[in-house]
Homo-oligomer: 373 residues x 2
């Protein structure tokens, strides 16, 4: 068993064994029964069919509640440390899908305070600026201000702070240390911060006096925060937040997570077509060392970052994906052609996305919570 990987809210390294993470964190597998049940509400998202969204906490309970007429709300977020890349869009797209399916409210938290506290080199102005860039991408995915609100921690702290205090009062340093691995050298803002990330779980109480259940679709790297939030919720008289976890979006280097700190192997939402072409051109694939070997032995889609992009995000048609897989294994398609296909897909997507992203600048104010909150 591979133990040599790390998945925390601030660090994802090594080759991730996702099944082992389920055991490590104590979450549940999104099993076939639950996926079949979801199919009852509408068409299944490819991320569900393909196990990209693969684990949960109490999602079955949340559906029971929903079936009884108790609505929930969606909450996800982003730590704004830099530009938005494709890996960030993935869970937001899944949130968009769920919002369409269940017709519920959505809250999107931009944790400019977190990124300031955890990055020595970032100022609060830096993280606020990054938050602005990130939220445009979120809005560009098709959310509507009628049922979607954006939380910027430093802007909306008056709303969050009393909730955060209630959480903080119930979390000892001992717990924080055990969950996040804090040491004496961590700063006192980092230690407190999880309270701020927990606050939106209970936001409809602050906004409307309602103890609405909350569903958080996000990367499994965020589980530590929500283990804490779930322990505290009943002590405050709230339902435990429920979660759906996706795997990390792969990097172009073949590593397990796309990372903004490696801009040459990361596709940002503002990249130009020639940037994308170059980055995909340099991507790690499952191809053989020569064209002849590839024709003879075939490629290995299971390790290929170009294939993974199709699998995670760009080829929604299962049949077409199977065909691609087969052609690769048989050596019928070479890496160059595959890269061209993906580049075209990404650039088509980005052209449209960048247009919507520009429009989002005009609409952003509609998504903000009023300052009086």
């Amino acid at each position: 068993m591979n133990d040599d990987f790390k998945v925390t809210p601030w660090e994802v390294t090594g080759e991730i064994d996702y099944d082992q993470l389920i055991t490590r964190f104590g979450t549940k597998k999104m099993d076939q029964e639950l996926i079949d049940r979801l199919a009852g509400y509408g068409e299944l998202h490819p991320m569900l069919r393909r196990g990209v969204v693969y684990s949960h906490r109490d999602f079955d309970w949340l559906l029971d509640q929903y079936d009884k007429g108790n609505r929930f709300f969606l909450y996800t977020g982003r730590g704004p440390s830099g530009g938005t890349h494709l890996g960030h869009l993935m869970p937001w797209m899944f949130n968009r899908y769920l919002q369409d399916l269940f017709k519920v409210n959505m809250y999107f938290q931009l944790t400019d305070d977190e990124k300031y506290l955890f990055n020595e080199n970032l100022s609060l102005e830096d993280t606020k600026m990054a938050a602005y860039e990130n939220v445009l991408d979120f809005i560009a995915l098709g959310f509507e201000p009628e049922n979607t609100k954006v939380i910027l921690d430093t802007k909306d702290i008056k709303l969050l702070y009393p909730l955060a205090l209630k959480v903080a009062k119930r979390v000892t340093f001992s717990t924080a240390k055990a969950v996040f691995g804090f040491e004496n050298s961590h700063n006192i803002g980092q230690i407190f911060y999880t309270s701020i990330q927990a606050a939106p779980c209970f936001i409809e109480d602050a906004l409307y006096g309602k103890k609405t259940p909350c569903l958080i679709p996000c990367g499994i790297d965020q589980d530590a925060h929500f283990r804490v939030a779930r322990d505290v919720a009943p002590l405050l008289g709230y339902p435990k937040p429920t979660l759906i976890y996706n795997k990390m979006f792969p990097g172009l280097t073949g590593s397990d997570k796309m990372s903004s700190s490696q801009p040459q192997t990361t596709i940002f939402t503002t990249d130009k077509p020639k940037d994308v072409k170059k980055k995909i051109g340099n991507a790690f694939t499952g191809g053989q060392v020569s064209v002849e070997e590839q024709r003879k032995l075939g490629g290995r889609p299971e390790v290929c970052s170009v294939f993974k992009y199709q699998y995670y995000l760009f080829e929604n048609d299962d049949k077409a994906l199977d065909d691609l897989t087969e052609r690769c294994r048989k050596g019928e398609i070479l890496c160059g052609e595959c890269k061209q296909l993906l580049t075209k897909r990404i650039n088509e997507f980005l052209e449209e996305h960048q247009r919507k992203r520009e429009e989002a600048k005009e609409r952003l104010h509609e998504f903000l919570l009023p300052d009086s909150c």
Copy 2:
């Protein structure tokens, strides 16, 4: 040497050796030279003449700055856990004196978050309610809204939070543990809280973009917070906050600090004349066991809580105080008469104070910071 006392922001117990606190905390004595210098700005306050205000950090530097034309602002506060008693008024009165003397801005922080985090039995509603009661007493002392603003942590958190984050980022758990004695069982809100108490030291930067020096006249029990704030200030490009410390206002039991948790031996600003009469009647004095012994041996004003009240707060005339001391020592005045004198003084003071306190209800809104801050 008496070591058996504890003075922290959350606990004051034992018989306090104030000179030893200077050594323990590393503050400076308010020496005659500094007191003489202060006399150059205007009449000396009795608390200065009598050593009630007795220690400082960099107050001489602040006066140098003032003499060069660099104004400072005053900052003090209150942890709103219950009603206001006479001990709370003492440093606020001294702040009022300094504001009159130097004609500077004043900020008064009500730490409803702190009291919530540190008191298991208090809700945020409780501490907010207590803050309202406390601030009326503050305003009643004669502050004016033109140069005095009230900060309520949960209300004004949007202003405080970015400053608090900047402080928090520079304070490790290691430091917080050393300064405040935190243990694993402390909650993560308590650990973060000192950042919020540090924030007003830099508030004129947030309000006006000015790095104005800050003077904090307060009880010496608050020194731990400001040791941290002073270490961090230069790292953020701010002048170190300067401090003037007063001794703790004595309790009626003869203990070293009046405490709201003992309502029968604590005089609240809303007490009725008969309450005051009863409480002073039961006060611990330096009298002898019988009238005859007292006439013969005299009393001991140095241990008498009734005398201390005159000394700390009610007899501003040094000559009259000396007379009282002498008559007590000679057995010329008995405890009953002394108690009557003090009761009369307190009730006269409270009658006027309670009238101004009622007026403060109408004026409170003028002292608040705008919500848009």
